[in-house]
């Protein structure tokens, strides 16, 4: 790593954002590509690694922070977003990325997803969606097709309506909504740069195949294609566009301009004991 701690920073390459820890992922897992896109994005932005924190929950995908040379937090299952919200609100000068899987983010973590979209803190949320719980060896996640019957837990398929992350993000008020695919790491990197730069809560779903438990997802690279429409800042338009989405369109769907949530953090006390005066007798 080639950061000069005195302030002048030599140019950082993508590899400077990688740590030396070897990923536990299966060979061919889409998450390798996400890791690579993310380091490219960080290099593109030349963010000092110590100014970046990557926060995750539990799952294969949630292992990503340890593979980066930034600050990281591998929390508990489903709670990455509130960890990231707390960090960003308390330390607004940091770049805070939250990342994880579809199970982590939409099943156990669904409530935080809803409310993070609403709250609009300036963080970027990256979900590596493989429509399965990889880490626990292949159960249906909220984005799994209702008739997917390869899990012993739901041998006849989960049988319920899938969760549409982009729709929910839009309905809840996310400020930036996009979909990427691991088959195009450079495109994904560019999209991540835009997401990170966009003020407020940015949500990027990345289609990231689980080659072990969803081997058919290897075909995603043939199926994904650019969204036929450009990004919009009109939620109504975005909503209409989502109606023609087959979950394989890739691109930025929505860029809003709501003001991010950020309290001022400005000390207005001479001395903390000032607060005691209100109680004095």
């Amino acid at each position: 790593m080639s950061v000069d701690t005195e302030g002048t920073t030599a140019a950082l390459a993508a590899r400077d954002y990688k740590s030396s820890v070897k990923p536990v992922w299966c060979p061919g897992c889409g998450d390798f590509s996400v890791l690579s896109a993310l380091t490219k994005a960080l290099a593109e932005m030349q963010l000092p690694p110590e100014q970046v924190a990557v926060i995750s929950g539990i799952g294969c995908s949630s292992r990503i922070p340890a593979y980066l040379n930034t600050y990281g937090f591998h929390g508990v299952h489903g709670r990455a977003l509130p960890l990231g919200v707390g960090l960003k609100v308390a330390r607004p000068e940091l770049t805070v990325l939250v990342s994880g899987g579809d199970g982590d983010g939409f099943s156990i973590g669904g409530n935080h997803f809803l409310h993070a979209c609403r709250r609009n803190v300036d963080i970027t949320y990256i979900v590596m969606d493989n429509q399965v719980y990889g880490m626990t060896k292949g159960q249906a996640s909220p984005t799994t097709a209702p008739d997917w019957s390869l899990s012993k837990l739901t041998p006849e398929g989960p049988g319920i309506n899938p969760f549409y992350p982009l729709v929910i993000a839009l309905a809840s008020g996310a400020n930036f909504i996009a979909r990427a695919s691991t088959s195009d790491p450079n495109g994904t990197a560019r999209m991540l740069v835009e997401a990170i730069r966009h003020p407020g809560f940015s949500f990027v779903q990345i289609l990231s195949p689980c080659v072990t438990f969803q081997p058919e997802q290897r075909d995603w690279k043939k199926l994904v294609r650019p969204a036929p429409v450009a990004a919009t800042s009109d939620p109504a338009k975005a909503a209409r566009r989502l109606m023609t989405d087959d979950n394989l369109f890739v691109g930025i769907l929505y860029q809003g301009s709501r003001e991010p949530f950020q309290p001022r953090l400005e000390n207005r006390l001479e001395h903390p004991t000032e607060l005691e005066e209100q109680f004095a007798v």
Partner: protein
Amino acid sequence: MNPASVSIALAGSGGAGVLTSGNALLEAAAQAGWYAYLSRSAGPQIRGGESVTMLRICNDPVESPDDTFEILMAIDWRNFERFAAEIPLADNALVLGDADTGPPPGFLTALPVRYHELPLKRTASGIAQGRPNMLALGVLAELIGIPLQTITDMLNRLLQTKGQVALDAGVSCVTAGMELAQKKLPAVQRLPAPAPRSPGERLLITGNEATGLGAVRGGVRFVAAYPITPATEILEWLAPSVDKAGGTLVQAEDELASINQIIGASFGGTPALTATSGPGMALMLESIGLAVAAEIPIVVVDVMRNGPSTGIPTKSEQADLGMALYGLHGDAPHLVLAPTSVADCLFTTQWAVHLAEALQVPAIVLSDQSLGQSRAVIERPADLTFMARRETPASVSDGYQRYALTASGVSPMAIPGMAGGQYTADGLEHSPVGTPSGSAADHAEQLHKRQQKLSGFNYGRHWADIEGKGDTAVITWGSTTGPVREALARRKAAGHTTRLIAVRLLAPAQPASLGDALAGVERVLIVEQCHGQQFYRYLRAHYELPGEVRTFCKPGPLPIRPCDVLTQIEDWL
């Protein structure tokens, strides 16, 4: 029981304003120079139901309700039976009612009390904007001996914004009430005049406010909140206060979010706290375990209420002790502290912030409804000792080990922004560097380190309040300390010395210190407000208790009173 104390209950139905006049009486007494302690109780109605304000005024600092009430005044008697168990009346107590709002309930008049009627409503109706509760205030002020001027000054401040008419009405009512008392009521034994003191040397504060103040004094600058009775007032006080202090409070979507928000903020270097009660605390346990494993300092205040489950949300009990001590999965050593009085809410919370930060560990503070929602006159705390001071690495380099094995067990913690300190905090077991590890050696070392940093630390004398001598000791904790202390003071006044040990630091256990404190003791009485002997079982598990051991264990919602403790001791000896 205490000649320098008077206890008053003021009851009335919804809208009768008993809380307003009770608080006014409290403030006036505080201004006049007395100590005082106010608690309240309400019926099940969300708003507008009957309620009672209970006030004890005293020449000495007061931390507990008394055994009985000397004065009971009812604006009206609507559903008063509901409160009967909470208002034991002294023999010969003065019971005051207003015949125009109905007769007192039969059971009351059957008691050995002195019942008098006062035409509160009628008198008030003769005063423009007059209200019976303000008359009641005058009556009570007169009975206690609070000068009219003190009340007038206080009304001037309280009603400032309400305009001259309201103020005049208040003063007229109080004056009329005083006259009513003089004319209609027997003289009562008044409190001795308060000792002189300089203004500002005391605070009039609730335990919940004191907890908030302790947090800010300790250095807390990030608070996450999800409201729950009886913890909400901590959060409500903190919202503007932590903001003024340069921090912020975020209202979260649930307790899972609030606990993780504070962990995230603290990972970023900002001392952080949340407050909740039993049900919310239960939801936080998984993530408190994360803070243990990842060694992130946080403070979680549990203002206990009656359990199990939703229980009785507005009443006090000490039954979350087991959860606070043992509720985390895996071997997850952490701090558990409990304030021993309204005043101590301030100190204990501040100390908890300090310890959590010093030891990079979660601290759970067990307050309860009776501490949190009682309002008392307390000494103003001295200067700011025990601030948050987290150990960070002097310099970081490529070989930085976040979870380095050190002699103390505390490893200097890099904070995002420090170049070269990058690491990933992890709830997975890890090597000293912080990378996930399933090795038995790493697991044993990290388990040991996390235990060692707590058990090797010198907590000094604050681990417990230890008072008195003698071969009998009472061990207690939390809000029951008040009544125990008063019971022992009465014994002392009667010439018997008894030891008090009120444990403030519940985890890690301090067996050597308790051993010292119990040297020479032959009888131990354990006092706690719960049903399942949680404190007793905890003491057995971690301490050696000498001699004969008895327990006095009574669940909520009724408070434990000094006489209850006294009876236990006297029946034994």
